[in-house]
Amino acid sequence: MAIPAGQMMAVGRYLLKQRLARRERYPLVLMLEPLFRCNLSCTGCGKIQYPVQLLRRQLSVAECVSASDECGAPIVSVAGGEPLLHPQIADIARALVDRRRFVYLCTNAILLERKLDEFEPSKYLSFSVHMDGPRAEHDHSVCREGVYDVAVKAIRAALDRGFRVTTNSTLFEGSDPERMRHFFDDMMELGVEGMMVSPGYSYEKAPDQEHFLRRERSHQLFARMLGSPKRSWSFNQSPLFLQFLMGKRDFECTPWGNPTYNIFGWQRPCYLLQDGYAKSFRELMEETDWPSYGRKSGNPRCQDCMVHCGFEPSAVRAAFESPQAMAGTVASMVTGRL
């Protein structure tokens, strides 16, 4: 298990507080999108299709900080777009770290090495580098040659300077489980703290609509890829979520678990679907028609969804709320089995 003990304790304390306050809905990870512009255009990305004026817009440091204060989630995932294109990204990270948020700065790492000087290593800050698989697969997925090598070099540089580094991989139809297993070995050998995996989000606006995984296919792929996991692998994710990907457990999604904030406001209902925006976090929580989302609702857009931002919070919550699930989590952490 890759998540450092201090971070687990802090998140545990937060969860306990929510339980004691008998809160029904509470956030775990703030998905903060300070901008939508990117220096890549990946085939499966549906985040960057906006007119150029909107792509130029970005959240200010103050807006980012107040979103984090408003929401209160202990973890902030800074995504986009490519956050390193934001001229004040280091100030944003610093301000969040000062507030003791665990910051995952999601980046394609093209600009990472040259920007490292602006950041200070901290147990609260981790670069989460976009890595969709081995060299050929990754460069294909991001539609540019050489990006894998640039990212590996940046990861090495960041690790050398004492930064926390994790990877995040999105899998699409056609991913080869065996090659992905080798890729996990390579990443662990590089020295990253942990890895994250997720099936490709079926963004409505992404150019490539054919390669999003359907539920059954996700189960098959993840079961083969993560079956008999090696002891050397560390995932920066809940074991229960990984078991969910493999089809060994089922959850209903928790769309408010990873609320999303960007230049439009608080996105309803979740990171993936855009059914509009709330002006405040409170309005998002209180006035969104939650029963219309998730598999059980029958909403067709939710039927194949297995994205981590909807289901990881369900897994974490389950582990925290049911003794059996907690036992399963601990067993998996101790034995390394999934």
Partner: protein, 333 residues
């Protein structure tokens, strides 16, 4: 148009990743990006992507899809490119130009020290290179001659800031007060107007510090006595310096926006000691010689030193706020 037709258009507009033109029942038109809608209204961001407007559906007469659809465009690019990845040499910033650096030009080494402190960077000779809020900043001490043109040509900045000390021409200005130039005039000659957008961003960033906005006049020799200064103040300038005009001219010629920000050392009613009337890189020896010329001189020198450090601290505080604010304003354009 029927209600059902409007509802359908609103749904399409909400799903559309481009600008639409909305015609109201009173005939007025509005262009914007629809980012939200409900049964009763629609929310738009205007073309500057900053102003939000909420329009009741009842007021909408028609919606036209006038802007390019970014989702369709990305689809087309992808289709065209299928199987052909972008080459390795694609610029690291993609379509987004590297924002470029801010060039801060000062005349004196003493002024450069304030800039170095603001950037938290070391001085190497008469150059300071550093970063502030992710933006690259280069500061050079170019003297009062014509060094600005060469510096602009060599550094290719996105913004030039003329920065340093000046003499107050407005009686309200005290040592350490700041002046943000709206125009810079060559004494007895023409005036250059400061480009508006960086100036407005700068003014917003300086809010809370003691500063005035107005004209600067650039003299060819130091305006040392109250009489000299009153003469210069006649056409309404707030402060006098010796280099901002040349800096603004050099930036203007290169098509680069500029700002001039000065901190007052000597107010209107004070006069500079004789050694400070000439521009030179370092005043240490002349000042020492002056200090030994008598007790009154020594006292004046102490006062001048105190006022210069006030001005230095004011410049430092201003730059700390200015550079990040300008970086943010740039990206909003």
């Amino acid at each position: 148009m029927t209600e059902a037709r409007i509802a359908e258009l609103v749904d399409r507009a909400f799903d559309y990743r481009g600008y639409v033109t909305l015609r109201r029942s009173d005939g007025s038109e509005l262009v914007g990006f629809v980012y939200d809608r409900s049964a009763a209204h629609l929310d738009l961001l205007d073309e500057s992507a900053t102003r939000r407007t909420r329009i009741p559906l009842a007021e909408i007469a028609d919606i036209a899809f006038t802007g390019e659809d970014a989702a369709r465009k990305s689809q087309e690019i992808w289709e065209r490119r299928k199987g052909k990845p972008e080459p390795r040499e694609t610029p690291a910033h993609g379509d987004w130009a590297d924002p470029g650096k801010v060039l801060v030009l000062v005349a004196l080494e003493h002024e450069l020290r304030s800039v170095a402190r603001a950037l938290g960077a070391a001085r190497r000779g008469s150059v300071v290179r550093g970063r502030l809020s992710g933006g690259e900043v280069v500061a050079l001490a170019v003297g009062v001659g014509g060094g600005a043109r060469r510096a602009v040509a060599e550094e290719h900045p996105r913004l030039v800031v003329s920065c340093g000390y000046s003499g107050g021409l407005d009686p309200a200005l005290r040592p350490g007060d700041l002046v943000l130039a709206t125009t810079v005039r060559r004494a007895g000659g023409d005036a250059l107007a400061a480009p508006e957008s960086p100036r407005l961003a700068a003014a917003a960033a300086l809010d809370g510090l003691r500063f005035l906005q107005g004209g600067l006049v650039c003299a060819t020799s130091a305006a040392a006595s109250p009489e000299d200064k009153r003469a210069l103040a006649r056409d309404g300038a707030l402060a006098v310096d010796m280099e901002s005009y040349l800096v603004a001219q050099a930036a203007g010629e290169a098509g680069v926006p500029w700002l001039a920000l000065r901190a007052i050392v000597d107010p209107l009613d004070s006069s500079l000691p004789p050694f400070a009337r000439e521009a030179r890189p370092d005043y240490f020896w002349p000042a020492l010689r002056y200090a030994f010329s008598g007790p009154r001189a020594a006292l004046r020198l102490v006062r001048l030193g105190r006022d210069a450090s006030r001005a230095g601290a004011a410049l430092e505080a201003a730059l700390r706020r200015l550079v990040p604010a300008l970086a943010a304003a740039e990206a909003h354009r």
